[in-house]
Symmetry: C2
Subunit: 230 residues, 2 copies
């Protein structure tokens, strides 16, 4: 609906890929609805995935023994995080909905996107004990994981050789998003597009556009072990 803000965190090297097209479809459809859409195109930004001392501007809280979690927490509180992190945090803060668009790499997101999670969602900003899970600091936001797989739907079925696809969503949806208080919409999964016909790939794009039309009416999943491992 008009006025809603969406951040798409996008990790694919090739604009012509299906991931690139899925990202474009989302920008177009959500803009058409009157949403304001921002894209963090991680490869184009050459986003830094490594969690290092460079993320803290100025002196360290404890320069004797570097503790990344402690240092970024302290730096966040005094406004001393590196500018790329402050910029990403600003985008997250403004967003009502976060969409993560990526190809599944090794049952998870590509390292460049994992680095976005590791570096952007620092303590003080996204969580601060005991404000985690349902009381995480990013509550009232929604997240949606939209990704493509190499393996087929059959491989990722319960009893399939790769196991129920929901098993691998636990760290991303529960361990990261739910921990920060973010409510999670059902994932959007395109299975094995590399082995699909051009027509099937077009259908995948149409299905995504269709889903986005009524996305704001969706209820979040019940992010408990039952959803994942039942």
């Amino acid at each position: 609906p008009p006025g809603r803000k969406v951040l798409i965190v996008y990790a694919h090297q090739e604009p012509k890929s299906l991931n690139g097209s899925l990202k474009r479809v989302a920008v177009e459809e959500l803009s058409k609805q009157g949403c304001s859409v921002t894209v963090s195109d991680l490869y184009a930004m050459q986003f830094e995935p490594r969690a290092t001392r460079n993320d803290i501007v100025g002196c360290l809280h404890n320069s004797e023994e570097f503790n990344y979690g402690m240092e970024t927490w302290e730096a966040y509180k005094r406004g001393g995080l590196s500018s790329d992190l402050i910029e990403e945090q600003r985008k997250v803060q403004e967003a009502d909905l976060l969409i993560f668009q990526f190809p599944l790499y090794w049952f998870s997101m590509p390292a460049i996107m994992k680095g976005w999670m590791d570096r952007v969602l620092v303590q003080g900003f996204a969580h601060e004990f005991p404000n985690c899970y349902d009381s995480g600091l990013l509550k009232n936001k929604l997240a949606l994981f939209s990704f493509t797989t190499g393996g087929s739907r059959e491989m990722f079925a319960k009893g399939g050789i790769s196991g129920d696809i929901r098993y691998l969503l636990w760290p991303m949806q529960h361990g990261i998003m739910h921990f920060c208080g973010v409510k999670v919409l059902a994932p959007h999964i395109c299975f094995a597009p590399e082995y699909a016909s051009e027509e099937k790939r077009k259908e995948m794009l149409i299905a995504w556009a269709q889903r986005l039309k009524t996305l704001w009416e969706e209820e979040p999943i019940n992010c408990s072990p039952e959803w994942y491992f039942k």
Copy 2:
């Protein structure tokens, strides 16, 4: 035992950290046994986690539409991967045992280590359909995930707020190592060392050294959904 080769892939910024000490303990104990031990110290190496066109030397197989999986597979076959990847693959090839030592970041490994998985374990080297899972190309090797957590043992218990710690091992142990044919030893987990006394932290190091003394007698876990989600 004498002659066995071990590769420790290590991801912590601070040598004085518990992770740094756990790594040192492993090098010492395994060397004492007569093993030959190699360490990939990812932060010290400033290891590149991003999967990009730079990983392929020379011309692309398809420069019209960049496909990382396809391009690295083709480059592997013609010896055209970047030199840092060739070097890591050589270390993996020689190793009987891979130990991954890291602090748990967001229910998974730090991005710098995920980048090692994304970039080193390319098709052709680690797997090549249908040679995956039990017939993966790295069969006859062992792997062990050794890590520290922020959350307590209680939080990571079955029924705890973060769920059974085994849930989050599925993508790493099954999705990555088992996919490549590697057999997985039981994980080694130090819960919440930041909140432990100096004495407790010393006990953690001693326990790790003790386990390593009889490591070669251990049987791999049964890497099936039952182990993870029973």
